[in-house]
Symmetry: C2
Subunit: 354 residues, 2 copies
C-alpha cells in the first residue's frame, strides 16, 4: 500500500506507520509503540523509563524528601459533558495520577491553548470549574500560561496540567509490584465517564442520565495509608479502560492477571450504550475509578475499612487476582465459565475522551 493510500485509511490503526494516527493517542499498542520506538530511545532516563502515573524524584540535600511529578494534556471533545467539563477533568486527572503513587497534591500548573473564537464565557465557566476542583482537592494552581492559536489550529481549548505532590507512602505503589496471590480491587462501576462523553457526542443525551465519574481520588488514597504496606499497586482507570490498566500491570510486573466477568460492576445504562455503539466496556475510560493490587491476607480488612469510610460514595469489590500463570497477560473468566485473553487494543476504540 502506498504512503498516500495509508494516509487515507487513517481510521484503521496501523502500527508501522510513518505518520501520526489517532490510534497513537489511544493508550493502546500504537501508543506503546510510539513511546518505545520514538520517545524513550531519545528522552528516556531512569525516571521516565518507569512509565508510572507519576514520577518520583528526590530533592538534593533532602534525602528523605520525595516529590511526585505528573503531566497530562486534556483534549476532550465536547469540552462540557454530563457530570463535568475539561477543567474539572484536568484537575481531577492530575490529582489522581499523584495519588496513584501514594502522593498528596502540593501544587498544580496549567497551560491553556485557546482557539481564536472561543467564547470567553465558556473559558470562564471552565476556569470556575477548575477553581472549584482545586478548592475541593485543597490544592493551589501555582503557575499558568495561555497561548492563543488561529481558527482551525486547535479544537477550542486544550489544557495541560502538571502536578507536584508530596509522597506519603513509605514505598510508592508501582505497576511493577504486583505479586502472585494479590487481589485486584476496584472502587466502583466502570465506564461512566467514557459513556457520558460519547452519549453527548452522539446526541444520545435524551435516552440516558449517565454522569461522568470524574472525581479526585487522593482522599481515598489517604484513607488507605493505615494499610499501605499491603498495597502493591494503585492505578487509575483512564485511557484504555480497565483492560488497559490490567495489561500494564501484568506486563510491568511480569505476572498474569485473572478477572471474573461476573464480579466487574457495570451500570446497566453504560452496558446498554456500549452495546448500542458496539463498544466493550472493559476498554472504556473512567476518571474516578482505580485499581488496587493488595496482599490477599489484608483484603477483608481493606474492604471493610474502605466500604465503611466511603459508604454511599464508592463501593469496593474484588474482581480478580494476580497469578503466576499466563504471565504478561490478562485473562477474563466469563459468566459461562470460558476464558478469553483481554489484550490491549491496537489503536483507538474511543477517540479523545480524556
Amino acid at each position: 500500500m502506498s504512503e498516500e493510500m495509508e494516509a487515507i485509511s487513517c481510521a484503521l490503526p496501523h502500527v508501522g506507520s510513518t505518520v501520526i494516527r489517532l490510534g497513537h493517542g489511544s493508550g493502546g499498542k500504537m501508543t506503546a509503540n510510539l513511546i518505545e520506538n520514538v520517545f524513550l530511545p531519545r528522552l528516556g532516563n531512569v525516571i521516565l523509563n518507569q512509565l508510572e502515573d507519576a514520577s518520583i524524584i528526590s530533592l538534593p540535600d533532602n534525602a528523605h524528601s520525595q516529590i511526585a511529578v505528573t503531566t497530562d494534556s486534556y483534549v476532550v471533545s465536547p469540552i462540557f459533558f454530563p457530570g463535568g467539563d475539561i477543567g474539572s477533568l484536568a484537575i481531577h486527572g492530575t490529582i489522581n495520577d499523584l495519588a496513584m503513587r501514594g502522593a498528596m497534591p502540593l501544587a498544580i500548573t496549567a497551560g491553556f491553548i485557546l482557539e481564536e473564537g472561543l467564547l470567553i464565557s465558556e473559558l470562564t465557566q471552565i476556569i470556575t470549574s477548575m477553581q472549584e476542583a482545586c478548592t475541593r482537592g485543597q490544592v493551589n494552581l501555582v503557575a499558568a500560561d495561555t497561548k492563543v492559536v488561529g481558527r482551525g489550529a486547535a479544537d477550542r481549548l486544550f489544557i495541560n496540567t502538571t502536578g507536584i505532590g508530596i509522597v506519603r507512602f513509605s514505598v510508592p505503589p508501582s505497576v511493577k509490584r504486583a505479586m502472585p496471590g494479590d487481589v485486584i480491587i476496584v472502587n466502583g462501576d466502570i465506564g461512566r465517564h467514557g459513556m457520558a462523553v460519547m452519549a453527548t457526542r452522539e446526541g444520545l443525551e435524551l435516552e440516558t442520565t449517565i454522569l461522568s465519574d470524574s472525581a479526585p481520588l487522593h482522599r481515598i488514597v489517604e484513607s488507605i495509608l493505615p494499610l499501605e504496606h499491603a498495597v502493591h499497586c494503585l492505578r487509575d482507570i483512564t485511557r484504555g479502560g480497565l483492560a488497559g490498566v490490567l495489561t500494564e500491570i501484568a506486563t510491568a510486573s511480569n505476572m498474569g492477571v485473572l478477572i471474573h466477568e461476573s464480579e466487574i460492576p457495570i451500570d446497566p445504562q453504560v452496558n446498554a450504550i456500549c452495546e448500542l455503539l458496539g463498544l466493550d466496556p472493559l476498554y472504556v475510560a473512567c476518571e474516578g475509578r482505580f485499581v488496587t493490587v493488595l496482599e490477599s491476607a489484608r483484603a477483608d480488612e481493606f474492604l471493610q475499612l474502605m466500604n465503611e469510610r466511603w459508604f454511599g460514595e464508592y463501593s469496593f469489590r474484588v474482581i480478580g487476582k494476580v497469578v503466576e500463570e499466563h504471565r504478561n497477560r490478562v485473562v477474563l473468566r466469563s459468566r459461562v465459565g470460558g476464558n478469553r485473553i483481554v489484550d490491549k487494543l491496537s489503536g483507538e476504540q474511543l477517540p479523545r475522551i480524556c
Copy 2:
C-alpha cells in the same frame, strides 16, 4: 457593532471582546486583561497572583527548601526555524523561566499534542532536539504525556513543558524589586529569535542568515550568584519583547524605566527585516536574552565579571536605569534626544513566535 461583525474583524485587537482573539495570546494588554478579568478572579491565590516567570513554593516540613515551578505551552509556527525548533525552544524556555527566579533546573515534564498526519520523522527530530537541550542543560525529563487529535484540530505539534527548579538565590529576583537608581542590563542584541521565525514564515530565508538566539540561561544566572545581593530582578525577553519586559518591571515595581535607544544592541539584519515587515524591534521576542536590574554601585563589577566569563558568547551592556519619575512607564530617549513612551502593545505584533 454586532457580535458577528466583531467576530469577523478578528485581526484587530479588541479589548472588550466576548470571544478569544489572537491578541489575547500576545503578551500585551489584551493578555493582561484576560489574566486580570478571567483567570485571577477565579484561579488566583497568593502564589499565582505574583505573575512571575516561575512561582516559588516551600515544601512542607522543609522550611529552608524552596522550589521554583513554571509552565509554558509552545505553539510556534513553523516548528523548525534557523537556529532551533519547537523542541529545543521548549526546553530552553522552561530552563530560562526557572533561572529568572534564581533557580537551577531539577526536572522538566513535557506534554505533547500531536495532529494526526504529523510525520513521525519530524516528531523524532524534535524529540532528539529536546534531548540534546536537556543534556546541555543537565536536566532530566521526568514525566511525559502524548495526545493525538484529528486533522485540523491542532497545528501539527504543540508542546507544554513544566519545570521544577531548586532556588539558589537567597532572595529570589522579582519584577517587584526594581529600585530607583538601579541599572538595566541586557546580555546581547535583541530580536533575533522573532526575526529568524518571521523570515522563515515569510519566505525571506534567502536574504538573511539570522539564527534564533534560543539558548539556556541558567549557567549565566549561576555565574551571577557571587553578586546575587545586588541583583533585584531577572527577566527573560520573550513574548512582548524588551518593551513588554520593561513595562512589566515598571508596573510591578511601581517605578519608571528610562532606556537609551543608542545603547540597545540590534543586529543590522534584524533591523532591516523589521523595517521590511513594519515591525518595531523593541517588541520582538528573543529566547536567549534577559534583563538584569542591578544596584548601580555594582554595575562595573557585574559587567567585568560577565563579559570576561561569557566572552564570545554574550555581550552585557547597560541600556538604561530605574527612575522615580514617570512611574509605571517606560520612556525611550531617542538618538536625537527626544523622549517617547514605550507602551505595552494592545494585541499582537507577531503571532505565535514562542
